[in-house]
Amino acid sequence: MMASSYNAKEEDGHHPGLVGSGGPGAVKSKKPDNTAFKQQRLPAWQPILTAGTVLPAFFMIGLIFIPIGIGLFVTSNNIKEFEIDYTGVDMSSPCYNCAQNYSWNSTSVCTCTVPFTLDQPFESNVFMYYGLSNFYQNHRRYVKSRDDSQLNGDKSSLLNPSKECEPYRTSDRKPIAPCGAIANSLFNDTLELFYIHPNGSKIGIHLVKTGIAWWTDKHVKFRNPGGSNNNLSVVFQDTSKPVNWRKAVYELDPADPENNGFVNEDLIVWMRTAALPTFRKLYRIIQKKKDTMTPTLPPGNYSLEVAYNYPVRSFDGRKRVILSTISWMGGKNPFLGIAYITVGSVCFFLGVVLLIIHHKYGNRNNNADIPN
């Protein structure tokens, strides 16, 4: 196919045709322009899918995917993860009593202590998640039940929240801040971690509560109303707390004004609704110790103290605490590595099959050719 040059700008919709004032050469005929585009003669690449042509592609995919898969698998295996279910469904569970008695309305705090043992040391930063199962944070009406403008510090939305927040929009004729079902169902268990020293002493582990939310969420998307006004109780004075909350939004972290009100990171994390009914959310970070010699969490006995506030029994939910180290690929997940290895192998196998087909097919043709 001859490659005549094509200039899209020149040809598209432009009618050439000499529009001179009528010299002998100015024949304005309706003859279509003989351009590659209009005559559909543009130079073209015409791939034909046959075994011979695509063989390299299959082998290539195989050769690339298998190493990636192995890499992912190894990385995932190197991630240490420890999971403690403290829902308290079993009679034997330390939180059984709390789970049985608890509802949103109870005023007393039920605490339980879950002991656990780490067999391996956790190096570098350890991320502490709480995990919920069977919690449909992705229910459509639940997802909608929030007011982003209010959370963004908009004064008018603060006092007049979006209708989407119904029925958690007002309480006692005061607007709820933050309004909506998501905020209302904020995860409110308090988790504390203690290292049980072999000598029996209980050493509290420092849990960092900032840095768990997205930077953009904390600094851009979520803002307290009133700008730099540090006196949040004044700012929120005309609002009421969500019905399920024990304390108002400006009391979430009274110690740290940067982590109080709407910019409280626990709130922010909760407000980023999970995609799937089984999910975890970052709760705290256990910073790596300054002296690099000792691991962040050395092996040994630990205890998890839970202020058991959050009811999950109604929906058969589970509550977990997950301790995990983190790699470039995030948390522990062997799936992707296995998938890559599988797909790579399949491709490689297909490549071999195609090679055989190609080989046989080619031979057959050649043989058929000769007698003729």
Binding site: D148, A275, A339, I357
Partner: protein, 1294 residues
């Protein structure tokens, strides 16, 4: 598209209703009532002349346009969804945002409609404000007014070359004979002049017209769209009536020619004129693919229903599992929870909103766009451009391009379609003596066979070579006094004439080939002898019949001059045909007409020279070449003044090429018709004497009688003579005394019949000429009955025909002529190619069987080895018997081969050589009528299925269409009809695809057609290349569209299983809109317009490839379901790989949706990439561009949307994801897994069982010499060895 607003419809309905009470229209002069108020005007209930074709007014545009748009089901669907979204318990998205898609579609359509309407408005204004002359009583003269001021009952004067503003009953002309000529090219495309007569009794010779004295009442029929029928009478105050017909009506939009001025009373104005009533919009046909697609859309609806049902049930069941409501189930605003059953019911509607994309509403818009693109490329094809006519292929139906790729039966007209329809007088037989015109034949042989076009042209340019510039100078001389616009027009005309100058032959019926007839020496002597001796005799009668028994109009050169001047007007007149809404078509047609006119013009001017050269002795080749059109323009311009003075120089405006050929033949023998008026025909005899015949009556040609007659009074003998000409059977059956014993007449008849048979065998068109001398009494008696018939209003046609039959009997045979109609170029090749493409070609012609069979052999429709059955009988029983016999014989033959003819084509082509006994069927009109009758039609159709070629002769237009209809309905096949004349219109409209050949016989066929071509050979490329392309492109695109929507929407569906069937979308709604609007819309459209699986040259050399479309292999139900299944698989992959990757992680909803959106974009784009067969720059740009646009738009959107679209507000989500390596790993893996099956299957199929098309594509890779050899082998053997050798050599490269 003539659209009428409901308001006007109502008004019209009202007036029509009133009109129905009085089935006739009465019009009286407006003049006595000129000063009265409108209420008191007598003609007030009739419409004015102002036209309004625009649908909307400024204030009503929005509501009316919306009203219009909501007629479309798709839009209603959209609106329904949007409304659903406003119901709080049901809504899935922000209600306001849900309005966006419908708003975008409505807005785009509204802008398009508005623009078109504005253009229509502009033209209307232009037309309404054109000047015309209306008589005013107060001023007692015609004053210039605008067209819109014309009312019914006004008297309007039209000057020469002006356009007629309304339908006017002709009451006066400047012509002493009360005649006015009119050109109807704007109306029907016919370029010959039509003669109009003043209403009988009103031709006040020479006197000035005095409208104020008009005191009669015009009574005529109500407005209708029949251009050829009009009747009524004028009733004078004394109750005297004089009738009139269509030949007294000047039609709006036509141009007055050759007449200084014409005046009359307006009977129809504005929208009630015949031209406006004839203005139908573009034809809307639904293509086969579209019909199929619509059923598949229904499947989608079903699928959607089931998915919504699953969602609803799922939600209800899910809710049932909770004993107490968990905190994530939000109660309504009162804090109550609705029952799970009700919630499930609501959820059904929410699901409909969520999954609405399942029904590919955008498919319809995209198909329209794709078809526009396809039409663009078809019309741009340089191979389908005709240099002679300067015309491209025209696509008049905008939405059946892909039907061109599925044709199974081709019905073709013969004359003008297979043949040139340029009649050349070849031979004649007079009184039983044959004159073979050897010299003429020799001359034609030189022209036709002696050299190809180019040689000819060069010869002519050598022999006569005035440089080109004098042409310009002369033209400028003529146009110098006119304004600038005129000069430009003249320049354009110059260009045209030069374009045509290079061409071999010309449009009109008077190209030199036809005009120049070399007389036969023997016959010439005979004529001279009779001329000299007795001044009468059969030979003279024969030529007189040739000269006067026709409807040819003589126009003088003076008139032609004026027509050139009229160019400026014609540019208006073109737009006055009101074919609005089809702008580009109009302009092209208009140009086409004007170019036609110009060529005619040039030729007719050239005529004097043709006459000069008619002396047989001086004739030699170079003199023919002198008369080449191109040069003739120059010379005739130069000698213009001279030729003006020679007033006897004439040119003929013939209705049909046969007439032109005959009249020129008569001229060659010295019998020149110099003038024709309604009353007289003047013929110049060879001895230069003029014979002025008084015309007593003309019995015009019709397709039932198949003959015409003219009754004249001989000026010398005062005898009343009737000359009749017609098809041989039509004349022979009316001969008197043939069956008597009297031998002379019988002998002549027998010998003439023998000659006629010979002519027919040679493929000549035959016409018989006869004469009858009528006695005065007989004529008088007949004439009164004729007059009665003429003035009748009811059954006028039938009565006229009866009277004609009464007089046309006892004829004396004079002789017969044989006229050749040459085959068009490449007709045999085209027919062969169409055959090999699996199409059955039928020829339907009005000609006699012998001629038709002959043509059929010469165009390879029939082969000499074919078994040809001929059916001609008058008895139904015979017909039935023959049918049964033939059928059983055929069945035996086929049965022996054990093949079902229905499936022979596709497989046998490649399974091996097969000696198929080919059967041809020749059937004539009367027999066809019987065969198509209820009880025989099944057998006939069955027989036709077995026939390779069917030839129907002597069929009427109605039969043509009924044949097409029967085949189309009984066999359920795609039919195509191609024809060039008015007699093919029925057939063209009956077929699935109608193709008009713009040729010699006006434009009716083109007007009725879906596609218009200029040569029969173009059919090959149009069907095999463009049809094939359009079909496979559109089929692939439609399939892809279904796939695309299902694949995308299913992502949302799978998610429902993980969100409690609550109707959550994990993709931001805006991004979903963008996804369909920007990211994935352009590639399929480009795919539908530009994909090219096999190149045109291969398609042409391997017509077998066409069969895929015939068998609808590109788009079957199975193809659809495979695509849907693939979509389900891919959506499962696209959902579950990210799901397993992100399960039990801290990912948010919209962060989870982002990789899915990206993955499905990649999958959808790359899926298309697998389907695209040839990648050009455009493909790359659009494919890569789509992906880039996706990332740019999504990044930009998520960079700014902090709280713009609650609840999703995808602020920084995309950025966050793109910073995560997992995102890329997921995207790559998912895309590969999603596409792996399709890709692998494609590869396996391509390797193990390559389709015909794939092999053809492999062929294209071979070097050209090798390729040709392969194709030859392929054709020769059609077996497997070819595929073997093929793939051994093919594709060494990747």
């Amino acid at each position: 598209m003539t659209w009428t607003s409901p308001l006007t419809l109502f008004q019209r309905g009202w007036t029509r209703h009133r009109d129905q009470d009085r089935p006739i229209r009465k019009v009286v002069s407006n003049l006595p009532f000129e000063d009265l108020r409108k209420r008191e005007q007598p003609n007030r209930q009739y419409e004015g002349n102002a036209i309004k074709t625009n649908k909307y007014r400024l204030w009503s545009f929005l509501p009316m346009n919306l009203f219009e748009q909501f007629h479309r089901l798709a839009n209603i669907y959209f609106v329904g969804l949007a409304i659903l979204n406003f119901i709080p318990v049901v809504n899935a998205f922000q209600p306001e945002v849900a309005l966006i898609p419908i708003c975008i579609i409505l807005a785009l359509t509204a802008v398009k409609d508005g623009w078109e309407d504005f253009r229509r408005y502009q033209t209307d204004q232009q037309l309404n404000n054109m000047p015309c002359f209306i008589f005013r009583r107060r001023l007692m003269c015609f004053v210039e007014r605008r067209w819109k001021d014309v009312r019914v009952g006004d008297f309007v004067k039209v000057l020469s070359n002006e356009i007629i503003p309304a339908d006017i009953l002709l009451l006066h002309t400047s012509d002493p004979n009360g005649v006015c000529h009119m050109e109807t090219a704007n109306l029907d495309g016919e370029t010959n002049l039509k003669q109009r007569k003043v209403v009988p009794g009103f031709s006040t010779l020479g006197e000035p017209f005095q409208p104020q004295t008009f005191d009669s009442t015009v009574v005529c029929e109500n407005p209708n769209n029949n251009l050829n029928l009009f009747k009524g009478f004028i009733e004078r105050p004394d109750k005297r009536r004089s009738g009139f017909g269509i030949d007294s009506l000047l039609l709006r939009g036509c141009t007055v020619r050759n007449t200084d001025d014409a005046a009359g009373i307006v009977v129809y104005a504005g929208h009630e004129t015949k031209s406006m009533l004839n203005n139908n919009g573009p034809r809307y046909k639904r293509s086969k693919i579209e019909r199929k697609m619509n059923t598949d859309v229904l499947f989608c609806v079903l699928l959607l229903f089931f998915m919504c049902l699953i969602g609803a049930l799922g939600h209800a069941i899910w809710l049932e599992t909770f004993s107490t409501m968990p905190s994530y189930i939000v109660p309504d605003s009162n804090g109550n929870y609705i029952s799970s059953a009700l919630a499930g019911f609501y959820m059904f509607f929410t699901m409909i909103i969520l999954l609405q994309v399942m029904i590919p509403v955008s498919l319809y818009v995209s198909i329209e766009l794709v078809k526009m693109g396809q039409i663009f490329f078809i019309t741009q094809d340089a191979e389908l451009y005709d240099q002679e006519l300067d015309s491209r292929v025209q696509c008049r139906a905008l939405n059946i391009t892909e039907d061109l790729g599925q044709i199974q039966y081709v019905f073709s007209d013969k004359t003008g379609t297979l043949t040139e329809n340029k009649m050349v007088f070849k031979r004649c037989t007079i009184m039983g003596t044959e004159y073979c015109h050897e010299e003429n034949a020799a001359r034609l042989a030189v022209i036709n066979g002696g050299g190809n076009e180019e040689e000819e042209v060069t010869i002519y340019q050598k022999t006569k070579l005035p440089p080109l510039f004098p042409l310009e100078e002369l033209q400028d001389d003529h146009t110098g006094h006119k304004n600038h616009a005129n000069t430009q027009v003249a320049a354009a005309s110059r260009r045209r004439s030069k374009v045509a100058a290079g061409a071999q032959s010309d449009m009109a019926f008077s190209s030199p080939l036809e005009t120049v007839v070399v007389p036969d020496r023997k016959l010439m002597l005979e004529v001279d002898h009779q001329m000299a001796s007795i001044q009468t005799g059969p030979y003279l009668d024969f030529f007189l019949a040739l000269a006067i028994c026709n409807t040819v109009v003589v126009s003088t050169l003076t008139a032609q001059r004026q027509r050139v001047k009229g160019r400026r007007n014609s540019s208006y007149s073109g737009s006055s045909s009101h074919n609005m809404g089809q702008w580009f078509k109009i302009s092209s047609l208009q140009k086409f007409f004007s170019s036609m006119r110009f060529k005619r013009n040039r030729e007719t001017m050239a005529d004097p020279f043709a006459i000069d050269e008619d002396e047989p002795d001086t004739f030699h080749i170079s003199s023919v070449s002198d008369s080449r059109p191109g040069q003739k323009v120059i010379s005739s311009e130069g000698k213009d003044k001279r030729s003006l003075s020679r007033s006897e120089e004439v040119c003929y405006e013939a209705h049909s090429p046969d007439e032109a050929a005959l009249i020129h033949a008569a001229k060659a023998y010295g019998f020149t018709m110099v003038e024709r008026t309604p009353r007289y025909v003047t013929v110049k005899l060879p001895n230069e004497t003029l014979l002025k015949f008084e015309v007593l009556d003309v019995l015009t040609f019709d397709s039932t009688r198949r003959r015409m007659s003219i009754i004249v009074r001989h000026p010398h003998t005062n005898e009343i003579i009737m000359y009749t000409k017609g098809a041989d059977s039509a004349v022979m059956e009316k001969l008197g005394n043939v069956f008597s014993v009297e031998s002379a007449a019988k002998r002549i008849a027998v010998r003439t019949q023998k000659d006629l048979d010979m002519y027919a065998r040679d493929g000549l068109r035959t016409l018989c000429f006869a004469k009858k001398v009528i006695s005065e009494q007989e004529f008088k008696a007949w004439f009164t009955s004729r007059q009665e018939a003429l003035s009748a209003i009811d059954e006028k046609e039938e009565r006229l025909m009866e009277t004609a039959n009464d007089i046309e009997n006892n004829l004396t045979l004079l002789g017969a002529t044989g006229i050749e109609d040459r085959l068009q170029e490449n007709v045999p090749e085209t027919i062969q190619a169409l055959r090999r493409a699996g199409m059955q070609v039928w020829v339907l012609t009005g000609d006699k069987p012998e001629t038709a069979v002959n043509i059929a052999y010469s165009c390879k429709l029939l082969d000499h080895e074919d078994l040809v059955f001929t059916f001609t009988t008058n008895k139904k029983s015979v017909c039935k018997m023959r049918l049964e016999d033939t059928l059983s014989e055929v069945r035996r033959t086929w049965g022996g081969l054990g093949l079902d003819p229905q499936f022979r084509g596709y497989n046998s082509t490649f399974t091996g050589p097969l000696m198929e006994p080919s059967i041809g069927l020749v059937i004539d009109g009367p027999t066809l009528n019987m065969a198509l009758s209820e009880d025989l039609v099944e057998q006939f159709v069955e027989l036709c299925k077995h026939c390779r070629a069917v030839l129907c002769c002597r069929v009427t237009p109605l039969q043509k269409s009924s044949v097409v209809k029967v085949i189309r309905q009984k066999l359920r096949v795609m039919t195509l009809a191609v024809g060039d004349g008015a007699n093919d219109v029925n057939m063209i409209q009956a077929a699935d695809v109608g193709i008009g050949v713009s040729g010699q016989e006006g434009m009716q066929a083109v007007m009725a057609s879906d596609f218009a071509i200029t040569r029969f050979k173009h059919l090959q490329r149009l069907l095999l290349v463009h049809g094939h392309w359009c079909y496979s492109r559109l089929a692939n695109m439609v399939i892809y569209f279904f796939y695309k929507n299902v694949a995308y929407v299913n992502l949302l569906f799978w998610y429902q299983f993980f969100c409690g069937f609550s109707g959550t979308a994990m993709i931001d709604y805006w991004l979903m809109i963008f996804f369909n609007l920007f990211f994935t819309s352009a590639p399929p459209i480009m795919f539908g317009i530009m994909d090219k699986e096999v190149s045109d040259s291969t398609l042409l050399s391997l017509p077998e490839l066409y069969r895929r479309g015939q068998h609808s292999e590109g788009y079957r139900r199975s193809t659809f379901w495979i695509a849907i299944l693939d979509a389900f698989y891919q959506s499962l992959v696209c959902f579950f790989i990210p799901y397993w990757t992100y399960n039990d992680s801290d990912i948010g909803i919209f962060s989870f949706g982002t990789p899915m959106n990206t993955v499905s974009l990649f999958t959808i784009i790359l899926h298309l990439a697998i389907e695209i067969k040839s990648w050009t720059v455009v493909h790359w740009v659009i494919m890569v561009g789509s992906v880039l646009v996706y990332f740019i738009l999504t990044l930009a959107y998520s960079a700014i949307c902090i709280s713009c679209n609650p609840p999703s507000d995808p602020y920084w989500i995309m950025h966050k994801q793109m910073a995560d390596p997992m995102f890329y790993l997921v995207c790559v893996l998912t895309t590969v897994v999603a596409l792996l099956p399709r890709y692998t299957l494609r590869v396996l199929k391509g390797t193990l069982a390559p389709s015909l098309h794939l092999r053809a594509r492999q062929l294209e890779r071979l070097p050209s010499s090798c390729r040709e050899q392969q194709i030859r082998e392929w054709r020769g053997f059609r077996d497997t060895c070819i595929s073997a050798s093929l793939s051994s050599t093919a594709c060494p490269s990747a």
